[in-house]
């Protein structure tokens, strides 16, 4: 004698919701690691150390008297990063451009402190835009690099006009590089203009460093 029981079907929607949640969690972790995969954790740490508040800027200004070689240290850091990046091509474009700008900003800031020129606002804007290069790598990175480069150049121009009149040509070279940059284009398509800007910026800072009082007093 047969017996067949029936039962109410279990609703499917909790499973659908669970699958959607799992997919969302996977996507969340994937997207949060996306920048790390492109740039590595090192650049995140660097971002934290370079992004400074006004108080920190003030502290840095006073630190000059404790470490008069701060500018040269930053210049060396910037120079080393540029030359290392040429050797290590595996670095992604966003990693390189962001960190190169941040190191240039830091070197410029030290030079401004050394020469007692107020370029705080320029470098703050440059900082903000440089930090966005990673966060917005697909959309407006070209614009942000150009904006940061423009602000840095403006800051360097203020320093140059006040202390290094003979370096006018170097400032012009930077301005030409910025003119060559196109904020609407992807950074991969204008690598040469950006690299040229960094080479000229390094050249300018090195020449400024030759006349830096800190160099003379602290060989």
């Amino acid at each position: 004698m047969a017996e067949i029981k029936i039962e109410k079907k279990k609703p499917v929607w909790p499973w659908i919701v669970a699958v959607i949640i799992i997919l969302f969690v996977i996507y969340f972790f994937w997207s949060s690691n996306y920048d790390k995969r492109r740039g590595g954790t090192q650049e995140i740490n660097f971002q934290d150390s370079i992004s400074m508040s006004s108080t920190e800027l003030q502290n840095e200004a006073t630190s000059f008297y404790q470490n008069p070689n701060a500018f040269l240290d930053q210049l060396q850091d910037y120079s080393t990063f540029l030359s290392d990046s040429e050797l290590h091509q595996e670095n992604t474009a966003s990693y390189f451009h962001r960190n190169a700008l941040l190191k240039l900003i830091k070197a410029t800031r030290e030079q401004a402190v050394t020469t007692n020129i107020d370029v705080t606002r320029n470098l703050e804007i440059a900082d903000e835009n440089a930090l966005k290069v990673t966060h917005d790598v697909h959309n407006a990175a070209g614009y942000q690099i150009k904006k940061a480069a423009s602000e840095i150049t403006e800051a360097l121009t203020k320093i140059q006009k006040d202390h290094y009149e003979d370096l006018h040509a170097e400032i012009k070279a930077l301005e030409r590089d910025i003119t060559d940059m196109n904020g609407m284009r992807a950074i991969d398509e204008q690598q040469e203009s950006i690299l040229s800007f960094h080479r000229h910026a390094l050249d300018l800072l090195q020449k400024m460093g030759l006349h830096n009082p800190a160099v003379k007093t602290n060989p």
């Binding site: 004698m1 047969a2 017996e3 067949i4 029981k5 029936i6 039962e7 109410k8 079907k9």
Partner: protein, 133 residues
Amino acid sequence: MKSSENHLHRLEDLKDYQVAPDNTDIRNWNVIDVDDRVIGTVDSLLVDLVTKRVVYVDVEVDDSIISANHDPDSSPGELKEFNNKAGDTHIIIPIGMMDIDLSRHRVRALGLNHRSFSDAPRYDRNYSFESRV
């Protein structure tokens, strides 16, 4: 009497119900009589929602059953308890009279032979089964 009143429903009409996982869905399985003759196929399961069990099996009978019951020599005035009409191809069998053969995927009707089926009252699938039940 409406099916909702006697709690009897075709399982396929109940979208929220299914055969319990540890039970066998015998729909489309062959139905055989005590002599191992195929007498039809399980078309539907009639279930009681109160007891949550299959109560009857709706069998679509084989052509041999229909033709066996057709008696062209019977006189028009002969009294019969019922008259199967053309299109009456379904039989309702209590689940208690069935035995499930899991290995051969078929259902055996206990104590019923070919003649029992050919003599049984049938109904049209397109009409209500409840009058038969």
